[in-house]
Symmetry: C2
Subunit: 198 residues, 2 copies
């Protein structure tokens, strides 16, 4: 004897979420069962309607409240810079750094043939279209520093350079506040290569 079927079905769905194992999913589902039906319905509807409720900017493909998004319309941001990221979440740390005041372009992922993600599945064509319209001087590749992010960056570099704009990649190096003793050798190697005159 075990939990009723609708509960087991929900537990199964929740375990497919990142970082949610069987135990956590069970705890969450049982908690939901104790919630007032109105609150449960509200949460369920918020999830069911999420993709319809969240607008995507038709210019940069960031998630937004309106289209075009606030980053694309802000007159205080520089039009001649486009920072290319994999996902909308990647914009948040860049904004927090305060080091960037240009426009963005969200690819919607990284090239990964193993996962079936090919260049045509990402918003690359639209990026090239934006650059072709002119006024862009530099494209900053801020895809992740992973194997997929790297190959996406080099693919983009090859596609963007013929359009005669500067293409840059965010720097590799040691994280601020980190300890050499505990750093991996690849990061240390990159930090060595990228050393600068002081």
């Amino acid at each position: 004897m075990s939990y009723p079927k609708p509960l087991r079905r929900l537990i199964g769905m929740l375990t497919r979420l990142p970082g949610i194992g069987e135990k956590t999913a069970t705890r969450l589902a049982l908690h939901m069962l104790k919630m007032p039906p109105a609150a449960l319905r509200e949460m369920g509807e918020a999830i069911a309607g999420l993709s319809d409720a969240v607008v995507r900017c038709s210019k940069c493909f960031n998630i937004a409240d309106m289209d075009p998004c606030a980053y694309c319309t802000d007159p205080a941001r520089r039009d001649e810079l486009i920072c290319v990221v994999e996902d909308p979440t990647d914009i948040i740390p860049i904004e927090k750094s305060g080091e960037y005041k240009g426009r963005y372009h969200v690819l919607g992922g990284a090239i990964s043939p193993i996962d079936g993600v090919m260049p045509e599945d990402l918003h690359i064509r639209e990026l090239l279209g934006r650059i072709s319209q002119g006024g862009v001087e530099e494209v900053i590749l801020a895809t992740n520093l992973t194997a997929e992010g790297e190959s996406t960056a080099s693919y983009l570099a090859g596609a963007v350079k013929p359009l005669n704009v500067r293409v840059t990649r965010i720097a590799y190096g040691m994280p601020v506040g980190s300890d050499l003793e505990y750093a991996d050798e690849i990061t240390v190697g990159r930090a060595m290569k990228g050393r600068r005159e002081v």
Copy 2:
């Protein structure tokens, strides 16, 4: 600038779930945003309709696929024993122990005036009704070994004893496989008091 409103709203709802902080809620909501809309709708509807989909046994108040539940109808279980638990989840470890083959009664929580849970909010009246119908010889109080579980157990003991049935409480003691060195003094004290001849 931050996430769109429907996303922030969902993040807010998710943080109210147990063990889900702001960071985890954000990660979950952003993952949901990448899910296919059909899967998202399926999950949302499973949550919205959970309390309607899950049946509650009208006899023991356990969650079930049918009413009365399998524990109440199984002819191999003993009618003269009722094990009282706070929540449906508490039945699982008891069943796994293999030490119990009687009926169950789910209170739906524990008495906790601070949280506004009074005896009349729990299925205590229904428990007394079941006992009054006769045939019950022993009521095993298996509420949690917490302050609330303890006061619920002593309240139940007072209510059940006048009906002339044996009332027992599950044993306090050292968990199997545990180390005396790391045990808290209250548990060790209870284990001492509850010592048995070998």
